[in-house]
């Protein structure tokens, strides 16, 4: 069994109109090498599902997004995601805006093959007003409480970036927080992981094996993508690249800002990308952010 693929192989599986989830959280451990490959492809009309960071802005800027299902889009230290904002303010983006916890519930419902999960989050807010497809349900028990029935967020494909993987699809996430990647993996028809390191076969001690958060049977393909989360953080290995994110953010103020950004950072090989960002050594030494 060998699930090793290239990013181009993986992106070649995508079709127009698919619903695609991205793991990570804001500017943290996003599968950016895969995102750049999607940006280079001609796939379009995607429904993007994410705890959004720069991948959301970039896919919006490149005109790939038909609909965005999200709780937020932010780069943390730069709170407002510039190209998400641009697309949103132009009235171009069809959105399903959800509470962060409700979003998790949608993924979990999909992961458990349930039509919905009940929740209170979203009641008495405009999350209901602006998502007319969301329904409420009364508890069938004596309490009769009315709850929001969060529908399953079924994904065609999920992309997750991990620290270590093997050719069988075993994965380890060794940063301080695993975020919600295990739910993305389980909510998807197919999940592809990109990994900082890929080995033939993981052989671990018990302590290290606990960094595995979802089983390889959920993994359809493994892409070797060293520094593949850049410019987002990939703890404990490297922090986010604030210099890059700032330049990306500033580019949105110019008319051809996205074209210029894409010319430099998207329309190039992986080797060129690293070189244009100060080289692998610089990126691998980016300090972890302090909170």
């Amino acid at each position: 069994m060998n699930k090793l693929m290239t990013a181009a192989d993986v992106v070649g599986q995508l079709r127009d109109g698919m619903t695609i989830g991205f793991g990570g959280w804001g500017p943290r451990r996003k599968p950016m090498a895969i995102v750049r490959e999607i940006l280079r492809s001609d796939v379009k009309d995607l429904t993007v599902v994410a705890y959004g960071g720069p991948e959301v802005g970039m896919l919006c800027a490149a005109g790939k997004v038909k609909k965005l299902i999200f709780g937020f889009a932010t780069m943390d230290a730069i709170p407002l995601e510039p190209y998400f904002r641009k697309a949103r303010q132009a009235g171009e983006l069809n959105v399903m805006e959800l509470d962060e916890g409700l979003f998790q519930w949608g993924l979990k419902a999909a992961a458990m093959r349930l039509p919905f999960l009940p929740a209170r989050a979203g009641l008495a807010t405009d999350v209901l007003t602006h998502n007319p497809e969301l329904r409420t349900i009364a508890s069938p028990y004596a309490d009769g409480e009315v709850l929001l029935a969060m529908p399953a967020l079924n994904l065609d494909v999920a992309f997750v970036h991990v620290n270590r993987a093997d050719r069988l699809g075993n994965t380890l996430i060794t940063g301080n927080d695993v975020y919600f990647d295990q739910h993305f993996a389980r909510a998807a028809e197919r999940c592809y992981v990109s990994a900082e390191e890929v080995e033939d076969k993981l052989e671990l001690d018990a302590e290290t094996a606990r960094f595995n958060t979802f089983e390889r049977s959920l993994v359809s393909g493994v892409v070797h993508a060293p520094l593949g989360a850049h410019p987002t953080a990939c703890g404990p290995a490297y922090g986010w690249d604030m210099q890059h994110l700032k330049a990306y953010s500033d580019s949105a103020a110019q008319d051809d800002g996205w074209q210029q950004y894409a010319e430099t950072h998207v329309n190039c090989s992986d080797a060129e990308y690293l070189e244009r960002n100060g080289g692998a050594e610089r990126i691998s030494q980016l300090p972890m952010p302090i909170f």
């Binding site: 937020f72 889009a73 509470d99 009641l123």
Partner: protein
Amino acid sequence: MSKPEFSLAELMIVAASEAWRNNGEWLASGLGIIPRLGASLAKVSHSPELLMTDSEAFLVEEPVPVGPRGDYQPKYAGYMPFERIFDCVWHGRRHAMVGPTQIDRWAQTNLSVVGDYHKPKVAMLGVRGLPGNSINHRNSFFVPNHNSRVFVAGEVDMVSGVGFKPERWGPGMRRDLMSIGVAVTDLCVMDWNGPDNAPRVVSLHPGVDFELVQERTGFPLLKVDNLGETPHPTAEQLAAIARLDPHNLRSKQLKGNPAGIRTAEELRA
């Protein structure tokens, strides 16, 4: 003994810390430097029972000072990644202080968009955790620039966090799990404990009068009986704040880092 001098930021940190008094073993989440220092001050002074994180993924019993850490090593006491934060939120034992873009007379909040939802004038972050936080546990607000663009007339543009507006609640929905603490602004401390949860001014910062607060608020305010001044920081509190903020990040949070005691002229400038 002479009274210590203090900045407005320090006055607001002390006022924020009071929000977490007598909460019990709740998770205290202060979002932003001043709310976080408020929560940290609460934990190191009057409410050591509070739970607190390092603002990333771990629980700490000693609040982590803000900014670059130098030799300081956080001392972890437990684990609290995002997924467990959600568990904690839905379970209710949490009190967050957040800075919404808009707040209305019903304590409803907005962090999503200003203007028309489908083609907003300004798109912010998105609703984030406000819907779930606000319906499940207590929330307080931090407002660094008290004005009627924040405290809006009418309803907020996109209701992201729930409030006390009856028309928003359908039959059978549980409203008893929500709770609003206070709003700590650069002018005053407010709550929503008037008749039918009407907003009230609880204390005025030095030099501020009620009329000024009303003028800069988009909805009518009540005042508590014997409306007094927000307590000044003590020397002990100022020393604790300095330890929690060794790089003086608090001085960069409010425009011009105003003094804690302002004259009427300065306030109206």
